[in-house]
Symmetry: C2
Subunit: 352 residues, 2 copies
Amino acid sequence: MSELRKDPVIERWVIIATERAKRPTDFVRSSAHEKKSEGVCPFCPGNEGKTPPEVLVYSRTGNLDDPNGWWLRVVPNKYPALKREGDLDRIGEGMYDKMNGIGDHEVVIETPDHFVSMADYKVKQVEEIIWAYRDRMIEMKKDNRFKYIMIFKNHGKEAGASLDHPHSQIISLPIVPKRVKEEIEGADRYFNFKGRCVYCDMVRQELGSQKRLIEENEDFIALSPFASRFPFETWILPKQHAADFHEIQKNEVSNFALILRNSLHRIKKVLNDPPYNFMLHTSPRPDTAERLSHYHWHLEITPKLTLVAGFEWGTGFYINPMPPETAAESLRACAQKENENPSTVIQLPSAM
Amino acid sequence: MSELRKDPVIERWVIIATERAKRPTDFVRSSAHEKKSEGVCPFCPGNEGKTPPEVLVYSRTGNLDDPNGWWLRVVPNKYPALKREGDLDRIGEGMYDKMNGIGDHEVVIETPDHFVSMADYKVKQVEEIIWAYRDRMIEMKKDNRFKYIMIFKNHGKEAGASLDHPHSQIISLPIVPKRVKEEIEGADRYFNFKGRCVYCDMVRQELGSQKRLIEENEDFIALSPFASRFPFETWILPKQHAADFHEIQKNEVSNFALILRNSLHRIKKVLNDPPYNFMLHTSPRPDTAERLSHYHWHLEITPKLTLVAGFEWGTGFYINPMPPETAAESLRACAQKENENPSTVIQLPSAM
């Protein structure tokens, strides 16, 4: 079983993924630039038997043997970083702390189409993905061993995607991870000092100055953050204060899908389809010790254009050669895809 | 001038490096895999005029026009992330904080030999490099605008090295960076709780269990850390409690050089010369608010064998497919270079 281990100094947890363990010789060549021959894609229609059984499927017919029936599947990861079965077993090893690697690790197969990328999806397809994120998050929250649920996407090999077929991932964790804790503590500190949500203030200031604004609609704003770590880093925030992603309203799903698809499309056009990651940051489970009223969910998109080197690893301090105001200007100027009318969207039933 | 900007939520600073600024179109292709044609190497003997004038040189003759005269040079970075001249000018922009990018950014040209790598240096040459780190750190500490000095090395293109000629870098910063602050706060918390230095406890436990031990000598230990973020991550710590790297004793310099060269040599042999970063973590200037008595300087080596993807960026939580006990075992088993006798080393005068 995988193990969670805590750094005794800065209290950063790591997953020692023994289920994915490799022999030392497997590392002899960097995997970063190897082209894996994929052979048969396990995520394509007709190959459903090559993945573990679905935990969620959106389908016209409900008939899983009909390869034309589904347009989105969620399946457990075949090589999970964490496993659902077992107890946490928090134990010490001298001065160190560890626990078993308990958690869910699921894959959202976003579309049956192997070759299209999220930047070019119809808005309706992105809505489906957002509903799947929400449905699985609600389901995972029922298990109170899990304190945090992280949704993320790796696009392109250099961003960590091991399969080409468009997919994103959901991991539930038995701890609140460091980066999320820091955001929550920062938001709490700001609230105690100013009496306002730091993200709400950010939305207000960015809408006012327009300098770093990329796009807005009724419910959401896309911007280049003031202290961007990476060139063309893009954040999407709800304009109204909201701590929990899974409480998103139906009309907001349409607008979130629209601004997410458009933001990815701008990045694809301006930067010639670069690798990227996106990460959804939402509140931990309410029964953790964290105070949540001042947190504000959001999505961070980080194109992979520069290398993270010794300076960044050593300091946690980033050197970004692209002023976010310039990045916002060129993303803003990029011509958009025609917007399909989101009002035509029909919410689809889940098959389980 | 470059700008330092603070994330208003988690208080992470970034350098918006306008001096290195690029046009948006410069990012259109990822720079990660481009082979830059280097032409004439500015760090090779005979090309001294292609770098800014030395701030430190170790040389037999003291005659800089003699290309065979020097065996180590320290020069200001020609494309610095930060600049020495100017005032900090801390200012706000609405809710945001920023300041001018004031700092030193120097390059240590470790050897006149373009083709050798630190893993294969004679121990004596590594000692020279350590003396240069120390000399420059002491010099930089005299400017009390600077709160922290970070020494690091990027080896290989994928680890961020833009020139092949062996070199490392020194940056002085007007703030104590987040990652260092976290270590200091963690060490302080541990001391308040247990009354002991967390790193001293780590050294004691690792010497006792031997499970993660790679090498030890009279003054230093090299180990695979219990909560390694990356496969084959290696830390080198002084066995005796010491907060400040620049107070290293002369006999310790020899032993530090030996264990550093050996650790890099083991990584090179076991992993076929992978790209890597190393970062020296030492105390901030004593006039900062940080409490230093419980900090313990050390060096972290991180081979670049896996990709950092959405999960890690979103959570600050790493998935490591290589148990550190297995990594330590294969690094420990690797045959060592013959150890030159460190007692033959003569300390060399600095030319300025």
